[in-house]
């Protein structure tokens, strides 16, 4: 058997040098003979023994090193405190944080005020509309009641007119509500965007606005289907509206 580097010493290089991967690559066993094909088995046995020995030595060394790493790491953990930040760094970060806090607080305050004002306006207008509609309704009903008992052909026409007017007013009230609501929604969306600017980390996620449910809105005693946003420009024709309950 020979190896390239040390043919003379092969197959027993000095023990302290150890067995390298290259040594193994370069092992060339001698052909046995014509009678017994294969390598000379004594050579093979000798190499195997050396490989086993080397492997054992490496394992032991690895265990020792692992222990050493562990004890060194324990020492390091006990001793090393991350270097304390300088007073200057703390001051700079503090003022940066305060600036950010102020911007967020301003955005929140702006949002609060705009939303508050919009809500007050919305509630006031809704209340006025409801009260006006209620008063008109009541007057109409009183008028209808007056006409009611003496039902002449002429008064019937009057009743019809009143009912028509009532239905028109209800639809009108509903349309005003819907318009107010979309106006307020638009305002609130603006506010929401402003808030987003104060907190840019959350802005990139473009998301559709929260889904509005197709709910119904109660107006006086009547339940009227809420029109879709934007469909509220025209006051619906009075003829389709339902009787008041």
């Amino acid at each position: 058997m020979t190896t390239d580097q040390s043919p003379a010493e092969s197959p027993a290089p000095p023990a302290e040098r150890g067995l390298t991967p290259a040594d193994l690559h370069n092992v060339r066993f001698t052909r046995a003979s014509m009678m017994r094909p294969g390598y000379v088995d004594t050579e093979v046995d000798r190499v195997l023994a050396r490989v086993a020995e080397e492997l054992g030595r490496l394992y032991a060394e690895k265990a020792a090193l692992r222990d050493e790493v562990r004890s060194l790491r324990a020492q390091v953990d006990g001793i090393v405190v991350p270097e304390a930040p300088s007073e200057q760094a703390v001051r700079i970060l503090s003022s940066a944080q305060q600036t950010a806090d102020n911007y967020v607080a301003e955005a929140e305050e702006f949002s609060r005020q705009v939303t508050h004002d919009a809500r007050v306006e919305y509630e006031e207008m809704t209340r006025e509309a409801r009260e006006t509609a209620g008063a008109i309704l009541q007057a109409a009903q009183e008028a209808a009641a007056k006409i009611g008992p003496s039902a002449t052909p002429g008064s019937e026409r009057g009743l019809e007119e009143v009912e028509e007017q009532v239905a028109y007013l209800k639809a009108f009230g509903q349309a005003v509500r819907t318009q107010l609501r979309s106006y307020l929604e638009a305002l609130l969306t603006d506010v929401e965007t402003e808030w987003g600017k104060a907190d840019p980390a959350v802005l990139p996620v473009a998301r559709p606005p929260a889904q509005r449910s197709a709910g119904t809105t109660t107006f006086e005693a009547n339940t009227v289907e809420e029109p879709a946003d934007g469909a509220a420009e025209a006051v619906p024709a009075a003829t389709g509206a339902r009787r008041s309950g």
């Binding site: 405190v81 991350p82 270097e83 304390a84 930040p85 760094a89 703390v90 001051r91 970060l93 503090s94 944080q97 305060q98 950010a100 806090d101 967020v104 607080a105 929140e108 305050e109 702006f110 949002s111 609060r112 005020q113 939303t115 508050h116 809500r119 919305y122 509630e123 809704t126 209340r127 409801r130 009260e131 209620g134 609501r181 307020l184 929604e185 609130l188 969306t189 506010v191 929401e192 808030w195 907190d199 980390a201 959350v202 996620v205 998301r207 559709p208 606005p209 929260a210 889904q211 509005r212 449910s213 709910g215 109660t218």
Partner: protein, 379 residues
């Protein structure tokens, strides 16, 4: 351990107002940048909270047994923020640096006492956190329904992705990616259901970052994070007294959950629910409550309005309306709503002869970032 010296030292730092917490957090983030991600963009409210909590701990530092349950709760609760054991020494080091920075008479003895005290506190918190490790630190929950009921109220249906145990009347802290690291408390409006669905009522508060996002930005398919539930209004298990439930505004949510609890679990009892709103328009959950009344012969629901002249409903403050329907002396009573409404209702009921121990109440404050170390939900 020289506790008076520690208290004096803490008082010096606390006296600087915002300065000391500002210094503390900057010091922490510079020495351990990885901790910054655990906090929201704006630290203003966080700073108030830190020294308030520390103050509570300092006040009781000589009574570890009283302090222990508080610290354990804090330790468990911090899991949802992403706090791990390795963060505790980092916080301790920055705390010490802060206390030293604001005290001219800092001594090695103080440093030693603070280190000892902090180590003890941290150990209790870490232990409690580790003991709770078999349950998730937070639960993801998908929004499967989002229903805008009024201009500023939405009713969300959320489905936790893993089993989430809670009791009717409890509160759940939740966070959305739209407003990272801002946790707020909400009460599910239903008792636990076999399909796990939870109904959450949210009112967009003017300028409130989380509530407005939940009402106006979140939609079906978004995912929320839930923290572990904490207890508030809980029915006495051994009692089958008839119930009187009084809600102001969004205080309706936990009380609706109690109604649902009686419907699912019993025991059979009469339940009278009073719900007060400012105007009739604001009664956001009327159809569903009316459905419950139709389904359950033992349930009545009375709506009242306080600022709506033309409504046909009962008028007046809800506490007043409730008393008109009394007497309620034999009832078990739960009251939930804004602070003024709760105080008013409870004091009226007590004055009418209801024993205080049979009234439980929960205040719904505009912003409920979390329980204090006393376990109370704070504004």
């Amino acid at each position: 351990v020289d506790i008076p010296a520690m208290r004096a030292n803490f008082a010096r730092a606390a006296a600087t107002g915002d300065e000391a917490p500002l210094y503390f957090y900057s010091h922490l983030f510079l020495s351990h940048p990885e901790t910054r991600a655990l906090f929201p963009v704006s630290m203003a409210h966080q700073r108030d909270r830190l020294f308030a909590a520390l103050g509570d701990v300092i006040a009781r530092v000589d009574d570890l047994e009283a302090l222990r349950p508080i610290l354990e709760q804090l330790g468990r609760d911090h899991r949802k923020f992403g706090t791990i054991a390795a963060h505790y020494p980092a916080v301790g080091a920055s705390l010490l640096a802060t206390l030293e920075h604001f005290d001219q008479d800092w001594t090695p003895e103080l440093a030693k006492d603070w280190t000892e005290a902090y180590t003890l506190v941290a150990e209790v918190m870490i232990e409690a956190a580790e003991a709770a490790a078999e349950q998730p630190a937070w639960w993801e929950a998908e929004v499967v329904g989002h229903d805008r009921r009024t201009i500023d109220v939405a009713v969300l249906q959320v489905r936790p992705r893993a089993r989430y145990d809670y009791a009717a009347g409890q509160s759940v802290s939740l966070e959305t990616d739209v407003r990272p690291k801002l946790w707020r408390y909400y009460s599910p409006a239903n008792a636990p259901r076999p399909d796990g669905l939870m109904e959450i009522h949210v009112k967009a508060r003017d300028g409130g970052p989380v509530s407005t996002a939940l009402v106006r930005r979140i939609g079906v398919g978004d995912v929320l994070r839930l923290g572990p539930p904490i207890g508030h209004l809980v029915l006495h298990d051994d009692s089958d007294r008839d119930l009187l439930l009084v809600a102001g505004g969004l205080g309706l949510a936990p009380l609706k959950a109690l109604v649902d609890h009686v419907a699912r679990k019993g025991p059979p009892r009469r339940v009278d629910l009073f719900a007060g709103f400012r105007t009739e328009d604001q009664i956001y959950d009327r159809p569903d409550l009316e459905r419950m009344v139709r389904e359950h012969p033992w349930l009545t629901v009375t709506f009242a309005v306080s600022e709506d002249k033309i409504s046909g409903l009962e008028h007046g403050d809800i506490g007043d309306v409730v008393l008109r329907h009394g007497p309620w002396n034999s009832r078990e009573i739960c009251v939930a709503g804004p602070a003024v409404m709760v105080e008013d209702t409870v004091s009226r009921l007590v004055a009418s002869g209801v024993p205080t121990q049979r009234i439980s109440s929960e205040v719904f404050a505009p912003s409920r970032p979390g329980p204090s170390v006393d376990g109370e939900v704070t504004e």
